[in-house]
C-alpha cells in the first residue's frame, strides 16, 4: 500500500515538475488524491523535484491546510478570527467540540469529521463563518454545521 502511494506521489510530482516552483501545486495534488500528504512520500517527492525531504517537511508544516495523517471524511473549518469572535464564534467552537467529542485538529472516533480552526475566511460580513470541505457558509449555527458535516460522511 505504501509503495503504491509513493509511486503515485512520484507520478504526481513528475507531472508538475515542469512548473516554476512546483512544490505547492504538487502538495495540493497529493492531498487531493490521498486526503493528506504522507510523510513516507517525502523522499520520493524530494527526489522528483530536486529538493530535500527536510524542505518538503518545512513547507508542509508551514501551511495548516496540509495534513500528514488522514483526516475525517469531512473537514469542518470554523473561523475564530475577530469578526466571527464578535458574533459568538468562541462559544460556537466550544459547542462543536463538545458535540463532536474532539479538540481542535481532532477527528471524530467514527472518522466522519475533522474539526479545524480557521483564521478568517473572508466572510466577515456573514459572521460567524465556516467551511465544510470546500463549501463556504455564513451565519452558521452549531446545529447546522453538525448536520452538514455529518451529512454524507456517515
Amino acid at each position: 500500500m505504501t509503495t503504491d502511494i509513493i509511486a503515485r506521489c512520484r507520478g504526481i510530482a513528475a507531472a508538475h515538475a515542469h512548473l516554476d516552483g512546483p512544490l505547492l501545486p504538487v502538495l495540493h495534488a497529493v492531498q487531493e488524491s490521498f486526503g493528506h500528504v504522507p510523510v513516507a512520500a517525502y523522499p520520493a517527492l524530494a527526489e522528483e523535484l530536486g529538493l530535500s525531504a527536510a524542505e518538503i517537511h518545512g513547507v508542509v508544516s508551514f501551511y495548516p491546510d496540509f495534513r500528514t495523517e488522514p483526516g475525517g471524511r469531512r473537514v469542518l473549518r470554523v473561523c475564530r478570527a475577530e469578526a466571527c469572535q464578535a458574533m459568538g464564534a468562541a462559544a460556537l467552537g466550544e459547542d462543536l467540540k463538545a458535540r463532536l467529542g474532539v479538540e481542535w485538529h481532532g477527528t471524530t472516533e467514527d472518522g466522519a469529521v475533522t474539526l479545524e480552526p480557521a483564521y478568517c475566511l473572508g466572510l466577515c460580513a456573514c459572521a460567524p463563518a465556516a467551511l465544510v470541505d470546500d463549501r463556504p457558509l455564513g451565519r452558521v449555527t452549531a446545529d447546522r454545521l453538525e448536520r452538514l458535516a455529518r451529512e454524507g460522511s456517515a
Binding site: 510523510v39 530536486g50 529538493l51 530535500s52 525531504a53 527536510a54 524542505e55 517537511h57 518545512g58 508544516s61
Partner: protein, 956 residues
C-alpha cells in the same frame, strides 16, 4: 560562529567582489568598500561592530533578528544593516538613543523565550546571545512568564512546546530549548554544505529547527558541523564542549584525512584537544569541514594506540615491549646483516602519504643515503601514480593545475571516476555551491553518485559507463570535439606541439572511435556522449575533476592523458575556472610524490638518470646514488617471495589491507626477515612485522602537508608525542642507529634542506608559511608566493603534448563463471583502510562494508536486502552483506574497503596500469552468491591476526 573566547573576526555578511568601490561614512568614519558590500560589513571593516544575531559572514543575510538596525541620513526608519548595501555618500549612525531603545526591546523579546541558565550553559562565555544582551545593555525583562519553549513543565503540566534534546548524533547535541530561530544552521546546511538536511518546521511562535521528520542521525545530515559552527547559542553544541568546557587557545593546523587539506583551528585546553574548528582563512576549505576532519580525531587518543616500541624474532612469536634504543639497535643490526648476506639492494622502504613532507623526505633520504639504494616507493603507487605519469608527459608537471577557488569560476564541470561528496566532501560542497549558481555538471561514473541528482543539484549528463572503458569514452568525446570542429585552434597553435596534435586529431577522428561505434563497449548512448562533449567544449570555462576511478585501471595513465588531451584541445588550461584536477586521496599523497618517494625519482620529480639532480644530493649527503631505479612495491613483494628482498621499513601505510591481491602481499611479507612497521596502531601489515615503531599523530608533530592543489599547509604540534618521539625523530634515530649522524633539531631544518635541493620548493620556508598561511608550489624566485594556477603563460614542458590514447580492454574479463564487474570506492564517514575512522564514533554511520547490487542481479541470485553473500573472483573470495540499489547498473556491483574483516582486496586482481603498476582496483570480474557468513579465508585471517597481535606483559 561562537567566537567570543577565541575571536576570529566575523564581518557579518560575505565579502563582495567588484571593480567599483563606494565610500560612505559610518559614525563619522569614512569607509571605502567594494560595491555591493553591506553596511554591516563596511562597518566591521572600519572596526565598528554592529550588534547582530542572525548574520554571520559565511551566510547570505536575511535581516531577521532586527538587532543590526541603523539610522541612515535621509532615509526613513531603521533599516537592517546586514541587508542594506553600502552606497556612495551614505551617512550611517550605528549607535543612537533611538537604536539603543529598539535593540533593547528586541533583546527583551528574545530573552522572554530563552532560559536564564547562563552559568550552567555549555556555551557560557561563548554565546552571541549573551554577548548581545551585554552589548545592548539589557537590564530587565518586563514580560511575565508565559508560553515558552524552554520550561519542561508549566502550571503543573508538561509544557507542550518543550522539545527534548536530540542527542542522536555522536558528536553534537541539538537543544531546542536554547534556540532563537535565527536560521543560521538551516542556511549553513543549505549554503555552505549544500545538503539541505535542516528546515524550519511550523511557523510563527511555533517555528522550530528540524532535521526533517526524524532525528539528526537518521536524517540526511552528513555531520559536517557547519550548523554547529553557525549556531550563535548552545542550541547546536559539540558534545566535547558540553563535557569539557570551553577551550582557551587555538592553534591553526591541517587536517590529516583527505587530499583537500582543510585548515583547522585545534582548540585546546592545556594539552587536551577540545574541538577542531574549520579555519575561515584556510585557503583550501574557506571555513568549511566534513565529519572526518571536524569530529573524527578521537583515534589519536584511542586505547589501541601502541605507545612502546616492540620487537620479536619471528612473526609467530608474541610482541615484546622494549626501549627505543633496543628496538632501533635490533632493527639496524638486522638490516645491516641482511645487506651483508644478500646485498645492498635486499632492503627498502615505503614512505607514507599520511606523514608530513619532512618525514617523507627523511624516509627516502634514509633509503637513498643510509640503505644505499633506490628501493623506495609509496602508496601513491596504488592511487595516483598514473596522474604523475600522465600529466608529466602531457603538461610537464605531475600535479593538478588549479587551486580549489578555481571552481568558483567554472561554467562546466566534468567529474570522472570520483565521488567528491564521499571522498572529498569539502570540495564537493564548494562544487555544489557553484552548481547552484548555474554551472553545469557532467558525471562519468558507473555508479549514480550523489552528485548526479540531489537537492538543488542535477547533472546535465550522467554517462554511466561500464567499468574499464574510460579511455573509449574520453576518446569518443575527443572524436566529437575534433570532428565537429569544436577545438580551440588558437590555443593549440600557440601552446601545443603541432605535430603531435595533428597525429592525435587524425587518430581520434577515425570512425571506429566515435560515440556510435563505441556505444556497445561503454554502454553510454552515443547521443549523450555527443551532447556532453559539446557542452564541455563550448559551455565556457570547463574544468575536469577526477579521482581513482580514472587511475586505478590497467589503462590509468592512458586515461589521465586522454583527460589532458581534452583540456588542451578545448583550451581549458592556464586560467581560473578550467584545468585538470586530480582529487588526491590522502592528506599528503601529493607531498609524498613531490618528496622523491618513487624508486625512479629524486625529490621534485627528477629522474635518477639525471646526473645533475643526483649530484645535488650526492654532494650534500656524501654518498653515491644509483642511476638505476629501485623496486616498486609489487616488485619488492615478488622479490621477497623469491628470497632476494628481505627487509622493509613501512611508515604509516597498511599495505596488507590497501594493496591488491592480499594473499600475494601476505606471502611477500611473510617471506621477509625484517619487516618494520611504523604506525599508530598494530595494523594488518604489522601481523607480519618483526619491529613495531609506535607513530605519532598529526597533532603531535610539526611539519607540512601538500594537498591536491599543490598547497603546502603547516601542520603544528598541539600536544607532545604520546610515545616521546615524533615520526621524523624516529626515522632520524633509525638512520643514526645505522651510522648516519643526522642532527635535525626541528622539521623546519628538513624543509630548508628540501628547499635547498629542490628547485620547485626553493622559496619555501616555515617563515614564509607562517606569513602567508600556505603556499602552492612551484614557489621560487619566479613565483615567490607560489603558483595558484599552473601553465598560465605556457606549459611547463614547453609545448603541450597530445598523446594518442588507444583503448586496450583490460585482461580482466567477465565470463560465465564471473559475470559481474566489481568496482570499489569510499563512503563519507570512513577513511580508506579505516584505521582512524573505525576508532571513532563515525562507525555510527558505517559499521561494515556492504556490497551494492542491482535488484535485478540480486533477484536472479535469490539475494535479499541484508543477506550475507559470497563475493568471489579469480583471485579469491570474501563474504559481506548485500544492499539492493539501482545506484549501480545491472552487471555492476560495488563495495567499500574500510573494514579489515571484509578484506575486499582479497578479491581484486593483480592487473595494473601499464605505465606505473597502479593496481586495477576498479575492475574485477566477480560472482556473487548467497552465503552463510564469513569465508574460510576471513576466519583463518582473523585467527592469524589475533595470534600475531599478542603482546607479552612488560618484563619486570
Amino acid at each position: 560562529m561562537k567566537d567570543f573566547i577565541l575571536p576570529d573576526a566575523d564581518f557579518g555578511t560575505p565579502a563582495r567582489r567588484s571593480d567599483k568601490t563606494v565610500t560612505l561614512t559610518i559614525d563619522g568614519t569614512d569607509v571605502t568598500v567594494p560595491e555591493g558590500t553591506s553596511v554591516m560589513r563596511a562597518a566591521a571593516m572600519a572596526g565598528i561592530e554592529i550588534p547582530k544575531l542572525c548574520a554571520t559572514d559565511s551566510l547570505e543575510p536575511i535581516g531577521s533578528c532586527r538587532l543590526c538596525m541603523v539610522e541612515i541620513e535621509g532615509r526613513r526608519g531603521t533599516p537592517a544593516s546586514c541587508t542594506t548595501p553600502a552606497a556612495d555618500g551614505m551617512a550611517v549612525q550605528t549607535q543612537t538613543p533611538k537604536l539603543a531603545k529598539l535593540r533593547r526591546g528586541v533583546m527583551e523579546l528574545y530573552i522572554s523565550d530563552h532560559p536564564l541558565d547562563c552559568l550552567t550553559c555549555a556555551a557560557n562565555g561563548d554565546c552571541q546571545l549573551q554577548d548581545m544582551a551585554g552589548a545592548v545593555g539589557l537590564r530587565e525583562v518586563r514580560y511575565t512568564p508565559g508560553a515558552n519553549h524552554f520550561e519542561t513543565r508549566q502550571n503543573g503540566e508538561a509544557n507542550p512546546r518543550f522539545e527534548a534534546k536530540d542527542t542522536s548524533n555522536p558528536y553534537f547535541t541539538y537543544d531546542p530549548a536554547k534556540c532563537i530561530a535565527c536560521f543560521r544552521c538551516v542556511r549553513a546546511c543549505e549554503e555552505v554544505q549544500g545538503t539541505f538536511a535542516l528546515t524550519v518546521e511550523g511557523r510563527g511562535f511555533a517555528a522550530r529547527i528540524a532535521s526533517g521528520t526524524t532525528d539528526f542521525l537518521s536524517s540526511d545530515c552528513v555531520s559536517c558541523g557547519a550548523c554547529v559552527q553557525a549556531c550563535p547559542t548552545a542550541t547546536l553544541q559539540e558534545n566535547a564542549v558540553i563535557e569539557m568546557g570551553t577551550p582557551d587557545r587555538a592553534i591553526v593546523t591541517t587536517c590529516a584525512y583527505c587530499g583537500v587539506g582543510c585548515s583547522f583551528r585545534a582548540e585546546m585546553k592545556g594539552d587536551q584537544l577540545v574541538r577542531m574548528v574549520p579555519w575561515k582563512d584556510g585557503k583550501a576549505n574557506r571555513g568549511h569541514s566534513c565529519v572526518k576532519g571536524r569530529f573524527a580525531f578521537g583515534y589519536a587518543a584511542h586505547p589501541d594506540r601502541i605507545q612502546s616500541p616492540m620487537i620479536r624474532e619471528t612473526i609467530d612469536q608474541p610482541w615484546r615491549e622494549v626501549s627505543w634504543d633496543e628496538a632501533l639497535a635490533f632493527t639496524a643490526q638486522r638490516l645491516r646483516r641482511i645487506q651483508a648476506e644478500s646485498g645492498t639492494g635486499a632492503i627498502g622502504g615505503i614512505t607514507s602519504s599520511r606523514c608530513t613532507n619532512e618525514e617523507t623526505f627523511l624516509v627516502q633520504k634514509l633509503i637513498r643515503q643510509v640503505f644505499g639504494n633506490n628501493n623506495v616507493d609509496t602508496c601513491a603507487r596504488v592511487c595516483h601514480s598514473p596522474t604523475g605519469y600522465g600529466l608529466k608527459t602531457t603538461f610537464g608537471t605531475s600535479a593538478g593545475t588549479q587551486d580549489f577557488d578555481s571552481v568558483e569560476a567554472a561554467d562546466v564541470v566534468l567529474v570522472i571516476g570520483a565521488n567528491p561528496t564521499d571522498g572529498h566532501p569539502v570540495f564537493a560542497s564548494r562544487l555544489k555551491k557553484r552548481l547552484r549558481q548555474g554551472a553545469r555538471l557532467i558525471v562519468a561514473d558507473p555508479r549514480r553518485i550523489d552528485l548526479v541528482k540531489g537537492p538543488h543539484v542535477q547533472a546535465a549528463h550522467h554517462l554511466a559507463l561500464r567499468p574499464g572503458t574510460n579511455v573509449a569514452l574520453l576518446t569518443a568525446m575527443a572524436h566529437v570535439i575534433v570532428t565537429e570542429g569544436l577545438t580551440d585552434s588558437a590555443f593549440i597553435a600557440e601552446r601545443c606541439d603541432a605535430e603531435a596534435f595533428a597525429d592525435w586529431a587524425a587518430f581520434v577522428a577515425e570512425d571506429h572511435l566515435g560515440p556510435e561505434a563505441t556505444e556497445a563497449l561503454t554502454g553510454v548512448p552515443a547521443d549523450q556522449v555527443r551532447q556532453a562533449a559539446r557542452l564541455y567544449a563550448t559551455g565556457g570555462n570547463a574544468a575536469i575533476y577526477y579521482g581513482l576511478g580514472v587511475t586505478e585501471h590497467s589503462q590509468g595513465s592512458t586515461t589521465v592523458m586522454a583527460i589532458a588531451n581534452l583540456a588542451m584541445a578545448t583550451g581549458n588550461i592556464g586560467r581560473p575556472g578550467v584545468g585538470v584536477n586530480p582529487l588526491r586521496g590522502q592528506n599528503n599523497v601529493q607531498g609524498s610524490c613531490d618528496m622523491g618517494s618513487f624508486p625512479h625519482e629524486l625529490p621534485g620529480y627528477r629522474h635518477v638518470h639525471d646526473p645533475e639532480a643526483r649530484g645535488v644530493f650526492e654532494r650534500l649527503w656524501n654518498v653515491t646514488i644509483s642511476d638505476e631505479p629501485g623496486l616498486r612495491i609489487p616488485n619488492m613483494l615478488d622479490a621477497a617471495v623469491d628470497g632476494s628482498f628481505r627487509g622493509l621499513y613501512v611508515q604509516g601505510e597498511d599495505i596488507l589491507q590497501s594493496d591488491p591481491d592480499t594473499r600475494h602481499v601476505a606471502a611477500g611479507l611473510a617471506a621477509m626477515d625484517c619487516v618494520i612497521v611504523h604506525d599508530l596502531f598494530l595494523n594488518e601489515t604489522a601481523n607480519y612485522a618483526h619491529v613495531f615503531l609506535p607513530g605519532s599523530s598529526f597533532l603531535e608533530k610539526d611539519g607540512t602537508f601538500t594537498n591536491a592543489e599543490r598547497r603546502l599547509n603547516r601542520v603544528r604540534r598541539v600536544m607532545a608525542p604520546m610515545t616521546g618521539l615524533a615520526d621524523w625523530e624516529v626515522t632520524m634515530a633509525l638512520a643514526n642507529a645505522m651510522g648516519a649522524g643526522w642532527d635535525y633539531a626541528h622539521p623546519s631544518e628538513i624543509m630548508d634542506e628540501i628547499a635547498a635541493t629542490t628547485p620547485s620548493f626553493a622559496g619555501v620556508s616555515y617563515d614564509l608559511l607562517d606569513r602567508e598561511g600556505s603556499v602552492q608550489w612551484p614557489c621560487n624566485e619566479a613565483a615567490p608566493k607560489g603558483t595558484p594556477v599552473m601553465h598560465e603563460a605556457g606549459f611547463v614542458r614547453g609545448k603541450g603534448l597530445f598523446v594518442i590514447t588507444d583503448y586496450v580492454p583490460t585482461d580482466e574479463r567477465t565470463g560465465p563463471r564471473f559475470p559481474l564487474l566489481l568496482t570499489t570506492g569510499r563512503i563519507l564517514s570512513q577513511y580508506n583502510v579505516g584505521a582512524q575512522t573505525r576508532r571513532t564514533a563515525n562507525t555510527a554511520w558505517h559499521g561494515e562494508d556492504r556490497l551494492e547490487i542491482h535488484p535485478h542481479d540480486a533477484e536472479t541470485r535469490g539475494i535479499a536486502e541484508g543477506d550475507w553473500v559470497r563475493l568471489a573472483s579469480r583471485s579469491g573470495e570474501t563474504s559481506l552483506r548485500a544492499t539492493l540499489t539501482d545506484r549501480v547498473s545491472p552487471g555492476v556491483v560495488y563495495t567499500t574497503f574500510h573494514h579489515p574483516e571484509t578484506q575486499a582486496n582479497v578479491v581484486t586482481s593483480d592487473y595494473s596500469d601499464w605505465a606505473t603498476n597502479c593496481p586495477e582496483y576498479k575492475v574485477t570480474a566477480v560472482q556473487v552468491a548467497l552465503s552463510n557468513g564469513p569465508s574460510d579465508w576471513q576466519e583463518d585471517y582473523a585467527a592469524q591476526a589475533r595470534a600475531a597481535r599478542r603482546i607479552l606483559p612488560a618484563a619486570e
